[in-house]
Amino acid sequence: MRLLLVDPDPARAALVAEGLADISPLELRRTGSLNQAELANFRPDVIVVASDSPDRDTLESLRESTQANPRPVLMFVDRSEPGFGDEAIRAGVAAYIVDGLQPGRIRSILEVAMSRFQLMQQLRADLAKAQSDLATRKTVERAKGLLMKERQVGEEEAYGLLRKLAMNSGRPIAAVAADLLAFSGVLKGDKS
């Protein structure tokens, strides 16, 4: 079985390919964007496409073709199993099979693709959170340093002051710290 994976995100595509490596017999080709000549040449049985790929509508239109051109007649996988397609849409994957192929055969492929897409999303979310946590910590550290200098207090007391400000204003400590740094900039005559 030949599978074409269309995904503009190379890291995610690699993750999906790795997951699919155990499924045999499967010949997998990855592409960031759809090339119709390549499509005609490779003649995939299954096309898995990321829903954030701008090539999806082009692919979709191939089902419409009334031409005698040698184009694959594609079926949206959804047709075989109601509900399963919705899950795939939520995960950000769409899949097409060439008409004539047993839809059941690709369920395992789609399941792997879906779980890898979800995994990638989770990894990206974790990374974004880690970055934002780090930025928050840096802001709080700088605000603490400012208070220690200006109020001549120790580290613990400075942190206590910040926490009290946050509680009194009902806002996160990072937001209060950011305000404090901005105001101190204004008081010192920063242009920004």
């Binding site: 829903s51 790929s53 999806r56 979709e60 239109s61 419409e64 009334t66 919705d86 849409i89 769409a94």
Partner: protein, 395 residues
């Protein structure tokens, strides 16, 4: 506690009612906490509305009808309680094709007859067929290009090639010579003109003044479950569209839409199709641009039959039932906008400005002549659908 909604849109000028409602706090003042998601493909918009991931979205009018019919996708219930705009799309040709057309018909260099001449010239020279890109098989863009080509005897399936590409990619395809022409919505046609000297051959506003384009496609399940939320959403969009329609706001609107998080396109190109008092400019609320005319839906269904996307004996009443003007009248009354009394009208019957019966008094309308100066009577849509010489209609 605000109601959280997820809505989808594609980067096009006609998404303005959604973008204005979001940035001007109009959703918020209706108690809606809306997240707007920019998608890169119409198929994804359709799937997410069908699956209920989005409660509603910016949608191609024909896509909503096709989805209800199960044509080109799994059948799903999508409600169309309002349109979002008229005008903005255009058929354009590359500088090279424009030259070929001018040689073929110097008197009318950008006409369909000129296209027919260029098609014949290429055939004589043994060159490949002229190719066009449209945004989706079920789009006014596809039907407009096909109608225009066929009007001069060019068979859109046999004599030219029509492919599909997302709006944002068409300018690049034209520049690289991958396609010779396009039919795309604003501002991407203007980008083709600016980047590679493409020429607009026909504006949607000249093809069918006040004709359909984008609609609000609503998940049927959500519409049934949360009718009050849907009306709140519609009121916010009506207010957003009215703001976008004010001549005095045109500059601010162009600047807003140009931002990276919305269209991410050059402001001056967006402004071109928002210029007040220009017939080709987009309409957002005036002249019933927001009204879900059932006669629009019937015309679209007729073209699905004409091009073989749907069978000739399909139930036309069922096909257009997703358009729900009653819902629009209700939301418009709450938002203080006049709305037509009738669900349908004879399309293309006016060659001058006219006046339409509205619930709160007459509504000013403009001339609305259809291609070929033919009238379209929605109750004779089936007959109309099979009346064309060039057609792929099937029983």
């Amino acid at each position: 506690m605000k109601t959280a909604l997820d809505l989808g849109f594609i980067a096009l000028t006609d998404a303005a009612p959604l973008i204005v409602a979001q940035t001007h706090g109009l959703f918020a003042s209706e108690g809606l906490d809306v997240s707007l998601h920019r998608e890169v493909s119409w198929a994804t918009i359709r799937d997410k509305v069908s699956a209920g991931v989005f409660q509603a979205a910016h949608m191609l009018a024909p896509m909503a009808i096709a989805t209800n019919l199960g044509v080109g996708s799994e059948r799903a219930h999508v409600v169309v309680p309002m349109s979002l705009n008229a005008h903005g799309a255009g058929i354009g040709v590359s500088a090279t094709l424009a030259d070929e057309m001018a040689q073929a018909d110097p008197a009318a260099p950008l006409s369909a007859t000129a296209l027919a001449g260029a098609v014949a010239q290429r055939r004589r020279a043994g060159k490949p067929n002229i190719s066009f890109a449209v945004v989706f098989p079920y789009s006014m863009h596809n039907y407009m290009l096909r109608f225009w080509a066929a009007s001069a005897g060019v068979d859109p399936d046999d004599d030219i090639r029509i492919g599909v590409a997302p709006p944002t990619a068409i300018a690049a395809q034209l520049k690289s010579g991958e396609v010779d022409g396009f039919c795309v919505g604003a501002p991407w046609g203007a980008l083709c003109e600016a980047q590679s000297g493409a020429k607009v051959a026909l504006h949607a506003a000249d093809f069918w003044p006040g004709g359909p384009d984008k609609v609000l496609g609503v998940s049927g399940a959500w519409a049934n479950r949360e009718p009050a939320q849907m009306l709140a959403l519609m009121r916010a969009l009506i207010r957003g569209a009215r703001w976008a329609d004010e001549a005095a706001n045109a500059d601010d609107l162009a600047a807003l839409l140009a931002r990276p998080e919305w269209l991410n396109a050059p402001e001056h190109l967006i402004a071109q199709r928002l210029a007040p008092n220009t017939p080709q400019s987009l309409r957002f609320a005036r002249h019933t641009a927001l009204y879900p005319w059932r006669s629009h839906a019937a015309w679209i269904a007729s073209q699905m039959v004409r091009w073989g996307q749907a069978p000739a004996d399909m139930d036309l009443d069922a096909a257009i039932a997703c358009y729900q003007p009653d819902l629009f009248r209700e939301a418009a009354a709450d938002a203080g906008l006049n709305a037509p009394v009738a669900d349908s009208k004879i399309e293309g019957a006016h060659d001058t400005a006219w006046s339409l019966a509205g619930r709160d008094g007459p509504i000013e309308m403009t001339a609305d002549q259809m291609p070929g100066r033919a009238e379209f009577a929605p109750d004779r849509a089936a007959e109309y659908a099979t009346s064309f010489k060039i057609s792929r209609s099937r029983s």
